[in-house]
């Protein structure tokens, strides 16, 4: 819980230099702490853990597959035309 407050504080300091990776890493650390301890996932049954892991896995799968489409569309334009 103290760590959560620390990461909020850290996010204040990082505002100076732009770094989306850093911002998202801090967000993910915060999120992990909230899920593990506030939401008691750390102490919960395997069934609950599998549910959460599956959710994260499929969210990333869907986001990644969508982005492989959108981010690579520009590559297919024919320079000759």
């Amino acid at each position: 819980m103290v760590l959560t407050a620390t990461t909020v504080f850290a996010s204040f300091i990082e505002l100076g230099d732009w770094n989306i990776v850093l911002a998202l890493t801090i967000a993910t650390i915060k999120a992990t702490l909230v899920v593990l301890f506030f939401m008691h996932l750390y102490y919960s049954t395997k069934l609950t853990k599998v549910t959460m892991i599956a959710a994260i896995f499929f969210l990333f799968l869907l986001l990644a597959l969508s982005m492989t489409d959108y981010l690579t569309r520009a590559w297919l334009t024919n320079p000759g035309h």
Binding site: M1, T4, A5, V8, S11, F12, L15, G16, D17, W18, I20, A23, L24, I26, A27, K30, A31, V34, V35, F37, F38, M39, H40, S44, T45, L47, T48, T51, M52, A54, A55, I56, F58, L59, L62, L63, S66, M67, Y70, L71
Partner: protein
Amino acid sequence: MATSDIEIAEHALQHHFADMDQQKESSTFGMWLFLVTEIMFFGGLFCAYLVYRATYYQAFVEGSQTMNIWLGATNTAVLICSSLSMALGVRCAQLGKTRMMVVLLLITIVFGFAFLGIKAIEYHEHWTNHQFPGPNFQFEGAEAAGVNPQNIQIYFSLYWAMTGLHALHMVIGIGLVAWIVIAGWRGAYSPDYYSPVENVGLYWHFVDLVWIYLFPLLYLISKKHGG
């Protein structure tokens, strides 16, 4: 089975469960499944955000720079504090300290309203600055920055949709916590039966989680913040 167990069983155990453990695990599992659907629900918006951010990066930078970083950061802190009091409230319910639980959940509600109040100030600011997508949308300095205002409008559409949906979840969350407070005050929960408290807690933490990601994505795109 001890006498007290039988009393509890009569009081809280639903007839289609074998015992309290099974009932509790079913309710927790069900709540997590619901949260999975919520993750997918918000996931769609996050995906839309990623696609447009990748396509119109500069417009998103321009849009995010009008955000008040301090109000956003304050709201992050407010929400994490509310999650803390919520987690402590659930702990009290577990230990049977009903009065303390009620107090902590009331604190959670206060933090919830504080979040919505700060959000309302931000919304009002955007509204008066014509930063609401639609025919009245205006964005000063878009041409100077070499960005199509239409693309900044996409940023604001996503901003209003994502934070608006999040705020709606907050309103529902406050209602749920209020329900737990009233039921808890009437003595509905005990260390053997507090699943509703725990599940509303899970919901509240989930809403907190969404904001933890919304904040860096919407507010922290670029370094040039006015403060």
